[in-house]
């Protein structure tokens, strides 16, 4: 279809509302953000060009590396189970058994809960003195643990909460993928002698590759950007053991008002996300 006269104008008219939003609230801020990372600016006074000084400071900044390490630890603790458990739950939910509809609703329901509710609720569950978890542990003669204030346990329990919160999304996506696999393939496999675990490993998992390509990078991206539930549950404690990169960005930008430095952190988080995503896509597509 050839371009009709006036089509250019109409097209841009249709696009203008979105492009205006896009320019003002996405494109321009992103560019400013990158630019800002080369300046030093508190909220008062004028910005001062410092070149790569912010990035140099970051390399030497112990707290930055602490936040980066915590974040990667969280990604490991959360994203991997989110994917594996998501798939496992999908397999369970795929069987037409009584109870699976209820299970499907229950597994996805946490995602409907707001991040700060998730944080407050689980802070209550993990409460050292009156939390329900410690109560049941003590009932079976296990010691009560100060989950959120023990440096060894704080991040793992935040991870468990996050898995509870988000695994439903992966489960539902995998479920759709499973339902797309024609039953004849399983029939054929059974005739060839492959059942149960073998057919899962050799048939199901490879056939789900397009879904893996979506679910795995998304899970990593989402966990890299973690902020809300950690902020509410531990506020980065104990002793900075759960501060994440985004929280560090928030502290630098809006507590200490070091806008240039915060922008540099944001750029690094962005670059990290981008690089990790590319790596995963390469690895997955190569399979």
């Amino acid at each position: 279809m050839k371009t009709r006269p006036g089509e250019n104008l109409t097209a841009y008219l249709f696009l203008t509302p979105y492009l205006a939003l896009f320019a003002l609230f996405l494109a321009v801020p992103t560019l400013i953000g990158v630019l800002l990372s080369f300046f030093d600016w508190g909220i008062v006074g004028s910005p001062k060009w410092v070149g790569l000084a912010n990035y140099a400071e970051m390399i030497a900044d112990e707290q930055f590396w602490n936040a980066a390490g915590n974040t990667l630890y969280f990604v490991l603790l959360t994203a991997a189970p989110m994917v594996v458990l998501g798939l496992g739950l999908a397999v369970l939910l795929n069987r037409r058994l009584p109870g699976t509809t209820l299970a499907r609703i229950a597994v996805f329901a946490p995602y409907v809960v707001m991040v700060s509710v998730v944080g407050i609720l689980w802070r209550w569950v993990y409460d050292t003195n009156f939390g329900v978890l410690n109560y049941y542990l003590q009932m079976i003669h296990l010691p009560a643990i100060a989950w959120l204030t023990d440096p060894r346990w704080a991040m793992p329990v935040v991870a468990i909460t996050s898995i509870w919160w988000m695994v439903g999304v992966n489960a539902v996506i995998y479920l759709a993928g499973l339902q797309d696999i024609p039953a004849e393939l399983y029939e054929a496999a059974r005739i060839d002698g492959a059942t149960g675990w073998a057919s899962f490993r050799r048939l199901t998992i490879p056939l789900l590759l397009p879904v893996h390509v979506f679910v795995i990078p998304m899970s990593v991206i989402v966990t890299l950007k973690v902020f809300g539930q950690v902020y509410v549950m531990t506020n980065g404690g104990p002793f900075g053991k759960t501060i994440t990169l985004v929280q560090y960005l928030y502290i630098m930008g809006f507590d200490h008002f070091r806008l240039g430095y915060a922008s540099a952190i944001a750029c690094v988080v962005f670059a990290l996300t981008f690089a990790l995503t590319l790596l995963q896509l390469k690895a997955l597509k190569a399979i």
Binding site: Y12, L21, P29, L102, L121, V232, L259
Partner: protein
């Protein structure tokens, strides 16, 4: 025989899973309905006997929960409406019109899907505070509506509509706008619903940005307000009866809507996974 055992084993597992995932939410409700004096006590009781609405009354008395609720609902609704309209227009242009520069525009917008919201927090805040626009509904609505996700979802869907239908409309004398509103949109209800749900949820759940940009209760949204009821993230002694009541006030409507529409939620998420 073995099959029946596996069946009942599977069903038992499903019920156990449902219980494990649902239990925390039930615990939240249970705590909220307990007499404030009995919240912090062992042994743990799941059933609040007698149930009382004292914590809820307290929450409403002490905090502007209704205002926060109004803000969250208003912001989410406005954002959703705005996004659906603007994204439909843009998606139609991208999907159906040939125009100069369409590839550039497409790539540009696609590129921003990779940029995380965190990268724009500081600059956006700076820009908005320069113009005194922080702490307004606009500062909450516009950045969320700018996210290109809905645009692409709709564009992909519009492409699947057979062009014969649009040609027929054109023969009947419809211009682009009429074709969009009379032919394309009515056929796009599932995609529109999915896009609307996503935008609504993104706006409703938004936490970090409102935390930064809302300075007064007039615009504060529920996720941030909840942290206020707790006494801030660094609080040492928290009134759990009160916070669980506030949390329930906030969660029950969303859960209700979810339970009513869960088929669409689940379908929407599943299809986006597949379409990518």
């Amino acid at each position: 025989m073995r099959c029946a055992l596996r069946q009942s084993g599977g069903a038992a597992l499903a019920i156990a899973v449902a219980a494990a995932f649902g239990a925390p939410i039930l615990w939240m409700l249970s705590t909220s309905l307990k007499d404030p004096g009995t919240v912090l006590s062992y042994p743990v009781r799941w059933l609040p006997l007698p149930p009382t609405l004292e914590n809820y009354a307290h929450a409403f008395r002490k905090f502007p929960v209704a205002v926060w609720f109004r803000n969250s609902v208003a912001v989410a609704l406005i954002t959703t409406l705005l996004a659906v309209v603007i994204h439909s227009l843009g998606a139609y242009a991208l999907a159906r019109m040939r125009f100069r520069g369409s590839n550039v525009v497409f790539m540009l917008i696609l590129g921003t899907l990779l940029v995380p919201a965190e990268a724009t927090l500081v600059p956006l805040f700076l820009m908005l505070s320069r113009f005194g626009l922080t702490d307004t509904y606009g500062s909450l609505v516009l950045p969320v509506a700018a996210n290109a996700f809905g645009l692409f979802l709709l564009a992909q869907f519009f492409k699947t509509i057979p062009s014969e239908l649009e040609d027929a409309a054109r023969i009947d004398g419809c211009g682009h706008l009429a074709t969009l509103t009379r032919v394309v949109l009515p056929l796009s209800k599932p995609a529109l619903a999915t896009a609307a749900i996503f935008v609504f949820m993104a706006s409703w759940n938004n936490f970090l940005w409102p935390l930064i940009v809302c300075q007064s209760d007039a615009t504060r949204t529920l996720p941030v307000g909840l942290v206020v009821t707790m006494g801030g993230p660094g609080a040492t002694s928290i009134n759990y009866g009160l916070t669980m009541a506030a949390a329930s006030i906030v969660t029950l409507p969303a859960l209700g809507v979810f339970l009513a529409l869960q088929r669409y939620f689940v379908q929407g998420i599943a299809t986006t996974g597949m379409k990518s």
